[in-house]
C-alpha cells in the first residue's frame, strides 16, 4: 500500500507557489485509481512526487509502511515504484529493444519484450531495432514508454496521461492491457487521465484541483457527479462576459 500523509509541495521562485496542498491519499494493492481534474490542478506533480522526481516540502510518503519520503528516484524504483512520463524523453543511439531490456533488467520474471510491444499495440518486428529518437512519432514514443513500465515487476505503477497521442485502435489494446495487469498481478495502478474510457477502468476516481483532492470515491459515484456538473473547476466564481478590466483586453 502506498500512503501519502499531509503531503505538500511548494515551488520556490519570485513568488512561492504551493502545487500540492496537504494531500492525504491511500492507494491499495490490486486496485486501479484514476486521478483526474482540470489542467494545472497538481496531477502530474502528484505523480512526480510519488516517483521521487519532486521532494515534498512537508508530509510523508509510505510504501508498505516504510517511510520513503527522502528516498531518491533510483531507490524508489528499486522498491517497486514505476512511472510512465507524460512526454517521454528520447535517446539517440539507444534501440527500442535495448531500452526495454534495461527496463526488464531488474525483473526476476523472464519478460518477453515482443509481447510487451504487442500489449501496447506495436509490431515487434517493426520496432525492436528502431532508435528511441526523433524518428518515432509522439504516439509511438508514448506506447514504448508505457511498455518500459509494463516490463517491470512493480508494486505501484503510475501512468501520466497514457492515452495522450494514442490512436483509437491502440487505445483499445492499451485498455485491455491495463485490465490484464489488474486481473493477473497485485500492482497498484494509478492512471492520470481525462478520458472517460480510462475512468471506466477505475475502481476509484480521485479528482484534484488547485493542489488538493476535491473528491475521491468509487468510480460510478464520481462519474455520475462529473456528468451532472456543467460548471467549471475554477478557484473563484467565473462567468463569461464579466471580466472587463485591462488584463482582459487583447
Amino acid at each position: 500500500m502506498l500512503q501519502l500523509q499531509k503531503v505538500s509541495l511548494e515551488i520556490q521562485g519570485d513568488i512561492d507557489f504551493e502545487i500540492l496542498k496537504n494531500i492525504n491519499l491511500e492507494f491499495h494493492e490490486k486496485k486501479i485509481y484514476v486521478v483526474t481534474g482540470p489542467n494545472g490542478g497538481g496531477k502530474s506533480s502528484l505523480a512526480k512526487t510519488i516517483m521521487g522526481v519532486y521532494n515534498p516540502t512537508s508530509g510523508q510518503i509510505l510504501l508498505d509502511g516504510i517511510d520513503i519520503t527522502v528516498k531518491n528516484i533510483t531507490d524508489r524504483a528499486r522498491l517497486g515504484i514505476g512511472y510512465a512520463f507524460q512526454s517521454p524523453p528520447r535517446f539517440k543511439g539507444i534501440k527500442v529493444k535495448e531500452l526495454l531490456k534495461m527496463a526488464a533488467s531488474h525483473n526476476p520474471e523472464k519478460v518477453n519484450i515482443c509481447d510487451l510491444l504487442y500489449d501496447v499495440g506495436l509490431c515487434a518486428q517493426d520496432y525492436l531495432n528502431r532508435d528511441v529518437d526523433t524518428s518515432l512519432s509522439g504516439g509511438e514514443m508514448k506506447r514504448i514508454e508505457i511498455a518500459t513500465v509494463l516490463a517491470r515487476n512493480l508494486k505501484v505503477a503510475v501512468f501520466d496521461e497514457p492515452e495522450a497521442g494514442i490512436d483509437l485502435w491502440s487505445f483499445q489494446k492499451l485498455a485491455e492491457t491495463f485490465k490484464n495487469i489488474h486481473s493477473k498481478y497485485d500492482t497498484t495502478i494509478i492512471l492520470i487521465s481525462h478520458q472517460e474510457r480510462i475512468m471506466e477502468l477505475a475502481d476509484e476516481i480521485i479528482i484534484m484541483s488547485n493542489g488538493t483532492v476535491s473528491a475521491q470515491s468509487e468510480r460510478d459515484i464520481i462519474l455520475a457527479g462529473i456528468m451532472n456538473n456543467d460548471s467549471c473547476a475554477c478557484s473563484a466564481k467565473c462567468v463569461k462576459g464579466v471580466g472587463q478590466n485591462a488584463e482582459c483586453v487583447g
Binding site: 533510483t74 528499486r78 514505476g82 512511472y83 543511439g93 534495461m102
Partner: protein, 306 residues
C-alpha cells in the same frame, strides 16, 4: 613478433583478436612488421616515401584489408602516406586504426595521410579507430588526413572513431563525389581531461545526383576542447545533410561550425547542429527504471557514441 601489448592495441583499434584473415599490413613504431596479400589485393611498399599502396582488383567482393598501426614507444614521430586503389565494382572493407601506448614522458605521434581512389560502381566501408593508453605524461598525438575520390555510382561509408586516450588530434577529411556517388560519414569522438580534438570535414558534390550524409556525435568532458568544421559544397544537382550533436559536460568547450554552400540551383543542402548537456529527463527516466545516476549517465553516453 607481436607481444601481448601489441595484441591488445590491435584489438582496440581493429577488433582483431588474432592475425586477420585476408590482406593486412601491421606497422609498429614506424616500420612494417607483418603483411599478407591475397589474389585480389596487393600491398606494395612505396619507394619514394614512407607508406604503402593497397591495390584492390576490380570486381573483388567480400574481402577485407586491415592496416593497423601501433606505437608502443615514446619519442616516435611517424608520418606515413598510404594510397588505396579500390577497383571498379569491388565491395570491400578497409580497417585502419592507430593505437598508441606511451608510458614515457616524451611525445608519441602518428600522422597517417590516406588517399583513396574509389572507382566506378565500387562499394567501400572504411573504419578508422584511434585509441591511446599508457601511464606516462608523454603526449599521444594523431593527425590523420584522409582524401577520397568517389567515382561514378560508387558508395563509401566512413566510420571515424576516437573514444579514448588521444591527447591531441587534428583530423582533416576531404571527399569529392562524382555522378550518382553516395557517401555516409559517421564520426564519434570522446575527449576528457585536457585533451584537444579538431575535425575538419569537407565534402564536394561534384557529380549529378550525388548524395552525402555526415553524422557527427561527440562528448566533451572535464577541461577538454573540441572544434568541428563541416563544409558541404553543392556544385551540381544533389543532396547533402550534416547533422552534428555534442554533449558537453564539466568545463569542456565545443565549437561547431557547419557550413553549406550551393553553386547549383538543384543542390539541396541541410545542416543541423546542436550542443547541450545530458537532458535531465533522460536521467530521470533511466533512474526510474532502477539505474543509479552514474549508471544512467554512462548508458546515455554509451548509446550516444555507439
Amino acid at each position: 613478433m607481436l607481444n601481448a601489448l601489441d595484441k591488445l592495441m590491435l584489438e582496440k583499434v581493429a577488433d582483431l583478436h588474432e592475425i586477420p584473415q585476408g590482406a593486412f599490413n601491421i606497422r609498429k613504431n614506424g616500420a612494417g612488421v607483418q603483411r599478407n596479400t591475397t589474389a585480389n589485393i596487393d600491398i606494395v611498399t612505396k619507394e619514394d616515401k614512407s607508406g604503402i599502396d593497397v591495390i584492390i582488383k576490380p570486381y573483388t567482393k567480400g574481402e577485407s584489408v586491415h592496416i593497423p598501426v601501433i606505437v608502443t614507444e615514446e619519442n616516435i614521430n611517424d608520418v606515413v602516406y598510404n594510397t588505396f586503389e579500390v577497383g571498379e565494382y569491388s565491395d570491400v572493407l578497409i580497417v585502419a586504426g592507430c593505437g598508441i601506448h606511451n608510458s614515457g614522458h616524451h611525445k608519441s605521434q602518428h600522422d597517417g595521410i590516406h588517399t583513396f581512389f574509389v572507382r566506378k560502381g565500387a562499394k567501400l566501408k572504411y573504419v578508422e579507430k584511434h585509441y591511446g593508453q599508457g601511464d606516462g605524461n608523454g603526449e599521444r598525438v594523431l593527425n590523420p588526413k584522409t582524401i577520397i575520390e568517389v567515382e561514378e555510382g560508387a558508395v563509401v561509408e566512413l566510420e571515424l572513431i576516437q573514444i579514448k586516450g588521444i591527447d591531441q588530434t587534428k583530423r582533416d577529411t576531404e571527399i569529392r563525389l562524382m555522378d550518382n556517388a553516395k557517401l555516409v560519414v559517421t564520426e564519434r569522438l570522446l575527449t576528457y581531461q585536457d585533451q584537444e580534438a579538431e575535425s575538419n570535414i569537407t565534402v564536394e558534390l561534384l557529380g549529378v545526383d550525388s548524395s552525402a550524409q555526415i553524422i557527427s556525435r561527440s562528448v566533451a568532458q572535464d577541461d577538454s576542447k573540441q572544434t568541428f568544421y563541416f563544409d558541404l559544397i553543392g556544385r551540381n544537382k544533389g543532396r547533402g545533410h550534416i547533422q552534428c550533436d555534442a554533449i558537453i559536460m564539466h568545463n569542456a568547450q565545443v565549437l561547431s561550425t557547419p557550413r553549406i554552400s550551393a553553386h547549383h540551383s538543384e543542390a539541396q543542402l541541410v545542416h543541423e547542429a546542436a550542443i547541450g548537456r545530458i537532458e535531465s529527463e533522460q536521467l530521470i527516466k533511466l533512474m526510474s527504471l532502477g539505474f543509479s545516476e552514474q549508471e544512467a549517465e554512462d548508458t546515455i553516453l554509451n548509446g550516444f557514441l555507439k
